[in-house]
């Protein structure tokens, strides 16, 4: 799951894509020209170049009627091949799945996570092989049994065949995904409702805040209702139906509480993540917190009762969006590292949040050159000067966004240019009341738009407006977290604290996750149809499967190899290390032989670089973890990149498929 703070920039992505595709196409054309020169002599390259504009001409002459006809035929063919049987298997899974999944001893949120993961995983893994096989075998089968001969001898463009095929398979896959998604949604809803036997919710009834607690265990139902100042009323019944008959009004109340509880469990939270940094024991900025000895450094720690602070800088604090949720909701989940047991090992730690208004500036001279902060002096209300190489020049502060700044060493610097120091000025600090945290659980802190606090400087209580006074001009807010328990440590990671926007409906979040599966399967269809244009069914299936496996499971490893982050060198070097039993951390002897080995490896690495960039990143389509963990699928960080990836592959695949089909002899086997 990735909820990055930096949004996906479409324009940059398109530029990068255009460069990559152009480079790839030029390479292919050069290779084709070279090959044709060998096979056809001087006329070969001319023939190849003559084919280039045909694609664009065919694309312009595309007939929707022909495309639709081929798509419809493809759909019917796939249905005839019993592709819909997969839905039956899916239904079968659900009929018996709940036998093995219901666990009354498990926490409800974990059960919900299991249900959602199960549904989305089942849809993915049932459909993947079906979609892969039908899309890879369709065209080769048509070529093998020569049905395609009666199509290509009609005025059908190859683009129409390819697009029609893709659309046909995609429409079948869409029907299956939608049907399975709807079935899965209903199943999750019913399972969660069925297992919701203990809940407590509070809401207004006739103007009074009313708390309804419901327990349905061990064959009896107990309902406790606390309304306003009235004493708690406890009602018991033999069963839910008995409660319905005996006390319909109370039953209605429990139903309302049940609906609220369902909403709370089936939720799509919308988080706004911030960037994390720390303040050390001396109060200065530092990259990481204290290492308490964990090898896994996902979390680092702040020491309780010291000046250690964890700092989150949030951007895009949108007043309208946040106020819909009646204020700023901060959700946190921290992990404690205890150096002493204290009175009770279960005792929660005391934590305090402080809201800080900050300004981040970079000083630049008249030519736009950045100047080190330490060289800057203030000369007036808003005028500054700096000494550069002995000369004094006027400089201007330029505001920078939070995500452009990071901590390196003990200083704030620009992410893009770490040599440029950034001035971070805290103009206002508002400490909030301290509270006890629940470890490994949700801690919700609601900050109303009017913040009332005790000002230590003036010794008086003050009231500030959250958005006008504490959120800066760039709609940024800093939250400092301090642990108040001396001797204890509190572990923090970037995702441990976030601003919670008003939640989306679970149905929408679930639909987005289904969209992610759809996009992944659409990619398989595109890759499968493309590879089937130049390969036979089994080989096309194998190629598509390899793309899927590498893109899904080995992409990160591939990236590490290409970057040179994997110890042991390249393929040849690693083989030599294995044979000669040289440790990974040992340097290789400085000989000509090993220099040659490294050269070969670096050449092979270039090849891997190409492979890494050709294989689609299937991880981008995995959106199930968002919704399974109760989060909405973010548009800019998940949906947009995956749509972008699918579109980015569609166009080059179309080109490859077109030329593969056009330049091969369909009769020649």
């Amino acid at each position: 799951m990735s909820i990055e703070t930096e949004p996906f920039v479409f324009l940059d992505a398109i530029q990068h894509w255009a460069k990559a595709v152009s480079a790839f196409m030029i390479l292919v054309i050069i290779a084709a020209c070279g090959l044709s020169l060998l096979t056809h002599g001087k006329t070969g390259p001319v023939l190849v170049l003559r084919w280039i504009p045909r694609f664009f001409r065919d694309l312009l002459q595309l007939s929707p009627r022909r495309v639709f006809a081929i798509a419809q035929l493809t759909f019917r063919e796939a249905v005839r091949r019993k592709a819909l049987v997969v839905f039956g298997m899916f239904a079968l899974l659900f009929m018996f799945g709940s036998w093995f999944m219901d666990n009354p001893n498990e926490r409800m949120d974990l059960q919900v996570k299991n249900y959602i993961s199960f549904v989305l995983t089942a849809i993915t893994w049932l459909l993947l092989p079906v979609v892969l096989l039908i899309s890879c075998w369709g065209l080769p089968e048509d070529i093998r049994n020569r049905s395609l001969h009666t199509v290509v001898t009609k005025p059908v463009r190859k683009t129409e065949i390819v697009i029609g095929r893709m659309l046909g398979f995609a429409s079948l896959m869409t029907i299956l995904v939608v049907a399975m998604g709807l079935t899965g949604y209903v199943w999750i809803d019913r399972e969660v409702a069925h297992n919701l036997t203990v809940y407590s919710e509070s809401f207004e009834v006739d103007g009074e805040e009313t708390l309804v607690e419901y327990v349905d265990l061990d064959g009896s139902v107990t309902v406790r209702v606390t309304s306003g100042e009235d004493p708690t009323q406890v009602t018991t019944a033999a069963s839910r139906s008995a409660l319905r008959q005996d006390n319909p009004a109370l039953y209605e109340l429990t139903e309302r509480a049940r609906a609220e509880a369902l909403k709370r469990h089936l939720v799509a939270k919308r988080p706004v993540l911030g960037t994390i940094s720390f303040k050390g024991g001396d109060g200065g900025p530092t990259e990481l917190g204290v290492n308490t000895g964990d090898i896994w450094e996902y979390r680092t720690y702040i020491a309780g009762g010291t000046q250690w602070r964890a700092i989150w800088d949030f951007e895009n604090i949108d007043e309208v969006g946040i106020l819909r949720g009646n204020g700023l909701r901060l959700e946190s989940s921290f992990e404690a590292f205890r150096t002493h047991k204290g009175d009770d090992i279960q005792q929660p730690l005391l934590v305090q949040f402080t809201l800080v208004r900050v300004n981040r500036n970079v000083f630049r001279d008249a030519d736009g050159n950045a100047v080190t902060v330490s060289a800057v002096r203030k000369t007036g209300e808003s005028s500054y000067e700096a000494s550069i190489d002995g000369a004094t020049v006027p400089v201007n502060p330029v505001q920078v966004a939070a995500h452009e700044v990071e901590v390196r060493g003990n200083a704030y610097v620009l992410v893009d240019d770490p040599d440029v120091a950034v001035q971070v000025v805290e103009t206002l600090k508002v400490p909030l009341p301290s509270f006890n945290i629940v470890e490994f659980g949700e801690n919700i802190t609601l900050i109303r738009s009017r913040v009332d606090f005790y000002d230590q400087d003036s010794g008086e209580r003050r009231e500030l407006d959250l958005f006008k006074d504490l959120v800066n001009d760039q709609r940024e807010l800093r939250v400092e977290v301090a642990c108040l328990d001396s001797g204890q440590y509190l572990g923090m990671a970037q995702r441990d604290l976030f601003v919670q926007l008003p939640s989306n409906s679970f149905a929408i979040g679930f639909a987005k996750a289904i969209c992610g599966i759809w996009l992944m399967l659409a990619m398989i269809v595109v890759l499968g149809v493309t590879s089937s244009c130049f390969l036979k069914g089994p080989v096309a299936s194998l190629l598509t499967l390899v793309m899927l496996l590498v893109g899904q499971g080995f992409k990160a490893f591939l990236e590490k190899i290409v970057k040179g982050d994997v110890e042991g060198g390249g393929p040849i070097e690693s083989i030599i290390r294995i044979i000669r039993q040289i440790n990974l951390t040992d340097d290789l002897p400085d000989t000509k032989f090993y220099a040659a080995v490294k050269s070969i490896d670096s050449f092979l690495n270039e090849g891997l670089y190409i492979v890494e960039n050709i294989v689609p990143d299937f991880r981008s389509f995995q959106m199930d973890t968002y919704i399974a963990n109760g989060f909405d699928v973010p548009w800019s960080h998940a949906m947009a990149p995956s749509i972008g990836i699918a579109l980015a592959y569609l166009i080059p695949c179309l080109v490859i498929a077109y030329y593969s089909l056009s330049l091969r002899e369909l009769e020649h086997k």
């Binding site: 065919d58 035929l73 001969h149 009666t150 001898t153 009609k154 005025p155 369909l666 009769e667």
Partner: protein
Amino acid sequence: MDTNEAVSQEIQPEPEPDASQATAEPVAAAEPVAAAEPADEPVIKIRNLSKIYRDFWGRPKVQALNSLTLDIQKGEVFGLLGPNGSGKTTTMKLLLGLLFPSSGDITILGETATNVEKNERIGYLPEESYLYKFLNAVETLDFYGRLFNMSKSVRRERVEYYIEMVGLTHAKHRQLKEYSKGMTRRIGLAQALINDPDLVLLDEPTTGLDPLGTRDMKDLILKLRSEGKTVVMCSHLLADVQDVCDRIAILYEGELKQLGRVEDLLTEQGRTQLMTSKLDDSLIVEVTELLERRGATVESVDHPTSTLEELFLRTVEESRERPGRRFVPEDVVAPELVSEPVSEPVSEPGKSE
């Protein structure tokens, strides 16, 4: 009237339309395509066409066609003959762009063989009807009609017309997988004609057809010619080719061995055949003596025989007109057969081919 039309009228009389053709009105073309080539330009121009099949490593495996050069004119029925492996089907597939030439040039309807636009005016019946077996006849023709970008109303008209023309009305809603071989050929032919093509390429058109179907196919080819369409067929059923083709080319091991008009190639200029009404023996002797006196050599005198195809067709025609009539050999006594009441023959729809 150009030479080809004159030749075709001379060679074959205009066939009588069958019942289905008589009832069905021709449907107007959805999008009439103007002929791109000049009137005297051949419809198909092949120059030094060679095809070499190669193995995986690009080494020559088989020379399927060797320097073929020929022209096929508008409005003629042209036959490509040859034994198996002579290069007939390869030529056909090169014309359609299913194979690429190793060398040489093809111009078909004024376009190169790989140009898709030319297919607007071409109908192709493959050697075996490689159609989608899960579709029925109506769906099949509708699908191919859509590939020609025909509107729904035109498609509907044409589908009905061609299904009736090929005699599949009774089976039009059955999936093609249930069709017999002959029925499959018929629907294959219908799909080849759905666009009312100017050029029809037929690969072994009569294979799998019974004599009735063969006759229908040959009648159809002649009808296409009478409509000014060009037909190119390849076959090794020589009698069929002889019946319908204006010109033929004989291929052997990928090379052109003979090319010309059928009657020119078959007529024996050094011999004469007289055909008269029945003569008695004395008159035959008299005529023979007269001829020998004048220096001619009489090689044989006998009664002409009909072809088996004609006999079969005549028998079937008579059976249709007089149902229930049976042939009882004179030397077999089967009174019970003769005394049976005559009943209407039950024609089984579908697999009657």
